[in-house]
């Protein structure tokens, strides 16, 4: 239909009839359509890839992931994480273009194989994206946790940044696998057990801190006593030197009591006025 429309326009215009139209007619319509799809696909791939890279740069992603292992590896290959993501988007669009060309061209070789590929390709694409994001975020988490703990010079402390990193990796792999439709039930159960242990053990280990923190947030908000007041908390009597989230520093001549804020609530405070 469209081909005939084009043909009639050309005849009406009387613009260079003859050989050009012969060539146009000689090639099947499907090939022209396929060619159009290829051109559009190539342009879309280039534009979308560049847009992705630009958008990521605009959102400050390169600064945020500076120094992560993935970024450094990417640097070694003279590229960067955002470039890799942009290239991935390009390949994804090219893949879709390829499939579109096949369907336009009515290539019926193993039709069921291609239809499954069409379904599978986006999943694979997102799985790869999730993996990359997971690896980068995991590296970043390791860096941030490590930075937080630099003040503590203990060899064992190195476990925590790694633990955080691999937790993020694990979750990323889990999401990627489930995206691909691989059976992940056992891994999910493992994750649940891990989280449960983390919450339970963390709760037990941090119970005192949590109690003091809750009490401390009340003390900081309402300030029943302030720095400079003379108070008695349990056996500790003196001048308040400092109140923070977890402890209150009470000092008298020669003694400084560091009282957990939970104790302040359990025993109460006596404010001493001459």
């Amino acid at each position: 239909m469209t081909g005939e429309g084009l043909l009639s326009t050309h005849t009406v215009l009387q613009f260079d009839p003859g050989q050009f139209l012969d060539v146009f007619d000689a090639i099947p319509r499907a090939v022209w359509a396929a060619l159009l799809v290829v051109v559009v696909g190539l342009i879309a791939a280039a534009v979308l890839g560049t847009l992705t890279t630009r958008a990521l740069v605009r959102f400050g992603v390169p600064e945020a992931i500076e120094g992560t292992a993935f970024e450094r590896t990417a640097r070694e290959f003279d590229t960067s994480t955002v470039e890799v993501l942009g290239t991935l988007v390009r390949f994804f669009v090219l893949g879709i273009t390829f499939l579109a060309v096949l369907s336009v061209g009515n290539v019926t070789v193993a039709a069921s194989f291609w239809s499954r590929t069409v379904q599978f390709l986006p999943q694979l694409f997102f799985a790869v994206i999730i993996l990359i994001v997971g690896v980068v975020v995991g590296d970043k988490v390791q860096l941030v946790v490590g930075e937080r703990l630099t003040g503590i010079k203990l060899p064992q402390i190195g476990v925590f940044p790694r633990l955080a990193k691999f937790s993020v990796f694990y979750v990323a792999v889990l999401i990627a696998l489930s995206q691909l439709g691989v059976a992940t039930l056992a891994l999910v159960v493992l994750l649940a057990a891990y989280l449960f242990a983390l919450v339970l053990l963390g709760g037990i280990a941090l119970s005192d801190l949590l109690k003091s923190g809750a009490a401390g947030s009340y003390l900081l908000l309402n300030q029943p006593y302030a720095i400079g007041d003379e108070v008695q908390i349990g056996d500790a009597r003196g001048i308040v030197q400092e109140v923070n989230l977890f402890v209150t520093h009470v000092e008298n001549d020669g003694e400084e009591f560091i009282v957990p804020n939970s104790t302040v609530f359990e025993k109460g405070v006596v404010r001493i006025r001459e």
């Binding site: 900081l220 300030q223 302030a226 720095i227 400079g228 003379e230 003196g238 001048i239 308040v240 030197q241 400092e242 923070n244 520093h249 000092e251």
Partner: protein, 271 residues
């Protein structure tokens, strides 16, 4: 040429240790790899080169002699060097890499208390540094272009509060601002037109403004010519374990007092 290297040779002959002030990593490695007999000490705001012997420099003193004095004092305190030692200091005088070499003989007069002021005060060194920075900033810019004076009493806040009384309502009551927060510079600048002292706790919390200090001023010996603000600041440090950092309205200098003594005097314009 030989005369030049002779001068350099004289400077570094018989030194016991080498002090590197804020070295770049390549600069440090050249010394570390050389395997020298002299002891190598790095003095910098942070231990970026991961040196073994390291003295923290809380403030990037612009004045080279202050910087060296601080480093030497820190090294003395940590017993890295002792009196009578001769030290070669590689320092940066102008922008860029280390460009100066100073030969110093350590004696009693090097102990001015600058290191002590930061390292052995009640308040955290970082808090004292932050207050210094606020005072220097204030001294540079003033309040709307006019010179202002200010008095910060840092550390031992409980006792300071007990030895002072409010001149008016405390604008910092029930607030939780710490020196070093970006908002604080602006706030302190605005509040510096108020009379009275700022009281800052060991951890850097601003406890109060508008405080009238009432310490016993007997036996406080500060240079003549300094006014009531400096006297009050010096006296409160004698009565309590606090450190006072005073910005003078008349000459614009920042001075630090501890134990009733003037410890440090710096010109904000040099920073």
């Amino acid at each position: 040429m030989s005369a030049l290297s002779d001068i350099l040779g004289d400077l570094v002959s018989d030194v016991e240790s080498v002090f590197l002030f804020s070295p770049s990593s390549s600069h440090y490695e050249r010394f570390a790899d050389a395997d020298m007999d002299e002891e190598l000490v790095v003095i910098a705001p942070e231990n970026a080169v991961e040196a073994e012997t390291y003295v923290e420099l809380p403030l990037e003193f612009d004045n080279v002699s202050d910087r060296i004095r601080f480093g030497v004092e820190g090294a003395l305190e940590r017993e890295l060097v002792e009196e009578g030692d001769v030290v070669a200091c590689s320092v940066r005088v102008f922008d860029g890499d280390a460009d100066g070499l100073v030969r110093v003989r350590i004696d009693e007069s090097m102990r001015s208390g600058i290191y002590d002021l930061f390292a052995n005060s009640r308040a955290d060194p970082s808090v004292i540094r932050d207050v210094f920075e606020v005072a220097i900033e204030l001294g540079k810019k003033g309040q709307k272009g006019k010179p202002v004076g200010a008095l910060f009493v840092v550390g031992d806040a409980g006792k300071v509060m007990n030895k002072s009384r409010p001149l008016s309502y405390n604008p910092f009551e029930k607030s939780h601002v710490h020196v070093g927060d970006p908002i604080v510079n602006v706030m302190l600048k605005e509040f510096s037109r108020l009379d009275g002292a700022f009281v800052i706790s060991d951890s850097g919390k601003i406890v109060s403004a508008y405080r009238y200090l009432e310490p016993a001023a007997e036996g406080v010996d500060i240079p003549k010519g300094l006014g009531a603000r400096h006297m009050a600041g010096a006296a409160i440090t004698r009565d309590t374990n606090a450190t006072a950092i005073v910005l003078s309205e008349s000459d614009g200098l920042v001075r630090a007092f501890k134990g009733g003594q003037i410890i440090l005097e710096i010109d904000p314009e040099e920073y």
